[in-house]
């Protein structure tokens, strides 16, 4: 069933690419622009993988935008202000997101707060910490990074996309092929039934939130290194883009259904829209409007299709 949904989202993505290629010609359809789309999509596409897992478990995470900003700031601080190595800076950025995820998990599993409230709090904490660290400054990583940096022999610009696709493959397999994945879906589908069947409900939820925190912070590290910035007010409102990507990709906000691959396709659909709309006259100002409409249309179409399947 979710496989059908993934195929549907992929189809929409292909249709979208065809449409903009026809409208804009080679100014849109060229390898360079494709690289740009994938690179900028990764900034929230990696976080969307985590959102998909959290939503699958029947929860919600409002912290991705703030975590992206925090990890970009932590990475920038270590690399620019402290003068540390880029590897250590990235590791610290990742650690900051894992910590925020662990705090969310603690609040939800141990303090039994509703996920919306718990992550509203951790969102504020992460964003607030980012401001405290920067004190209003911003870190310019690009000037300290060597111009032709190519970790593991791969061009830096290729990293975000490869990271997103690689992580998507790993987490997609995790959700589909492991007991952990099935247990996340079981908790989201019916927490009480999962508990009575002997699933370690608390541990399963904790894994989802910690993974989501880690993935969001990878988005932030990518932002810091590839865009060369660490700043406390980056990625504001991204939590909603991330949730929208997961939902378009097949996640049900009532839990028990989600697809990691679908979430990444969803993120790419938005990434393409963001890239192409400014190239269309008047499109710059309409892009949020069109993004909002696109979410609603895709979700409503899916509703109609699944209802038709059920009655058939």
């Amino acid at each position: 069933m979710t496989r059908r949904r993934e195929l549907g989202v992929l189809l929409i993505l292909v249709g979208e690419l065809a449409l903009f290629s026809a409208l804009l010609g080679s100014s849109f359809a060229n390898p360079e622009n494709a690289g740009l789309i994938v690179k900028y999509t990764a900034i929230f596409g990696i976080a969307a993988i985590g959102a998909s897992m959290v939503i699958a478990s029947g929860g919600i995470d409002l912290s991705p935008g703030a975590v992206i900003a925090l990890s970009s700031v932590v990475t920038g601080h270590w690399f620019v202000a402290t003068g540390g190595s880029i590897e250590a800076a990235c590791a610290l950025g990742l650690a900051s997101g894992l910590l925020v995820g662990a705090l969310s998990a603690f609040l939800i599993v141990k303090a039994e707060l509703p996920p919306f409230i718990a992550t509203l709090g951790t969102m504020g904490i992460a964003r607030g910490l980012a401001f405290v660290v920067t004190e209003g400054r911003f870190y310019d990583l690009s000037s300290r990074l060597p111009r032709d940096a190519a970790p593991l022999g791969l061009d830096l610009d290729l990293w975000p996309g490869l990271l997103m696709l690689g992580l998507a493959a790993v987490f997609h397999a995790l959700m589909r092929r492991t007991a952990l994945g099935r247990h996340i879906l079981a908790v989201g589908g019916n927490e009480s039934a999962a508990f009575h069947a002997g699933v370690a409900v608390g541990r399963v939820k904790a894994v989802a939130y910690i993974a989501a925190g880690g993935l969001s912070s990878l988005s932030g590290v990518v932002l810091a290194v590839v865009q060369g910035q660490g700043k406390a007010d980056l990625a504001t409102g991204y939590e909603l883009d991330v949730i929208a990507a997961a939902v378009v990709g097949g996640a049900s906000l009532s839990g028990g259904r989600a697809s990691v691959a679908g979430a990444v396709f969803g993120a790419l659909i938005f990434g393409v829209l963001r890239n192409a709309l400014p190239q269309i006259p008047g499109g710059t100002f309409a892009d949020r409007l069109i993004l909002g409409l696109a979410v609603l249309i895709i979700v409503v179409l899916d509703r109609v299709a699944s209802r038709r399947r059920e009655s058939a």
Partner: protein, 477 residues
Amino acid sequence: MAVRVRGLSVRYGATLALDGVALDVARGSVHAVVGENGAGKTTLLRVLAGLCPGHAGRVVLAGGAAAPRNPGEARRLGIGLAEQEIEVCPELRAVDQVTLGLEPGVRAGRRARIGWIDRRRQNERAAALLERVGARFPPETPLQSLGATGRKQVQIARALAGDPRLLLLDEPTAALDAAGAAIVVEVLRDVARAGGAALLVSHRIDEVLACADVVSILRDGRHVFTGPAREQRADDVVRRMVGREIPARAARAVAAPGDGDVALAWDGDVPLRVRRGEVVGLAGLVGAGRSETLEAIARAHPGRCALVPEERARKGLVPTFNVRENLFLPAPGRILRRARERADADGWIARLGIRVRSGEDPIASLSGGNQQKVLLARALARRTGVVLLDEPTQGVDVGAKAEIHACIRGLADAGSAVVMASSDLPELLHLADRIVVLREGRSCGEVDPTRAGEAEVIALATGLDGGGRAADGAAHG
């Protein structure tokens, strides 16, 4: 006549909760309805209170009105219901709960709909109602800090808030002590004396016979008896409640139960020793603590006991999963082996006779009985030595019931220790090697199904014959 019911039938899925019931409730009377669990008493009250819009048959209320279609209409018709389950909004204060939906407005004689609530009159009214039902707590107490007794009193006060001409009380005294129960009986009499009528559902047979004018007996959704309450003897009433022929017990393949090792030793309010190959039944009224006992045992032995909980949909099944995924929960091993799962699922489907096209069918496409078999298979697949079953045939049709019984018996014969709670006494008598009877959270005796019948179990469960004595007799006998 306050209520005239003719040919009333209510169907819940495959089960007929009420089957052509005819009943008259006279004005100025307290009318008791008794019957076993599942006899249809609560459903009858729910029809009269507008909570069962899909019923068939004719209901005529005083003044010629038909049965209400929703609770709001029931209130306007002067019908007040206090349900058995205590449903309250925990954040509200007692006064707010009592007048909820009937808040007095500031304009004299008006109810507040969107206007201001007259708080002073609301408090006075609620306080008076709470005093009348014998509440001994301040009316401003938030409901979450009240115990079962206080909540029950709030609920009864709430049923009285609309000055009902027809008062419906479902097990009103279950959470009350003797003094509290006497006050409720007085409330019932008041409504009758004022020219209304009261319909009372209760398990406490002798209490009912002492306070009601008329008693009616329901059995399996059918009306079987109505007569003056004071002329009935408790044991006659119980016999009529049980009524049906108890099916002959199937021959057992197992030698003599009780010769296996003790697989489960549980000390608590309901101490249990269960041997391999044995089926122990837990009997008792609603709220006697059967489910709580099973859940406590399961919690205390994680991994060693498999529990099939009651309320299949809420505690058992994951609706977004297919049959196979529901069957293997928790998943065996860290990495899923789908091909092997498919083959194993086919094995269980064949062994338990689950009627599906394949294990990939959505769980929602199965009937209740087949869903229950999936949950049984889940418990079996875990290969724990102890299996705990809570209402394993609830809402299951007759054919599937017999198949599930065969599964349970087969499970024990294969060496498992089975503890099974059921409200269906014939089922327990048929399946169990011995039956432990619970009352108010404690074990109150044990019954040997080869020597005793439903009447003995009901007597123990209801505490007839003066409570403890019967229990002691049965426990030692």
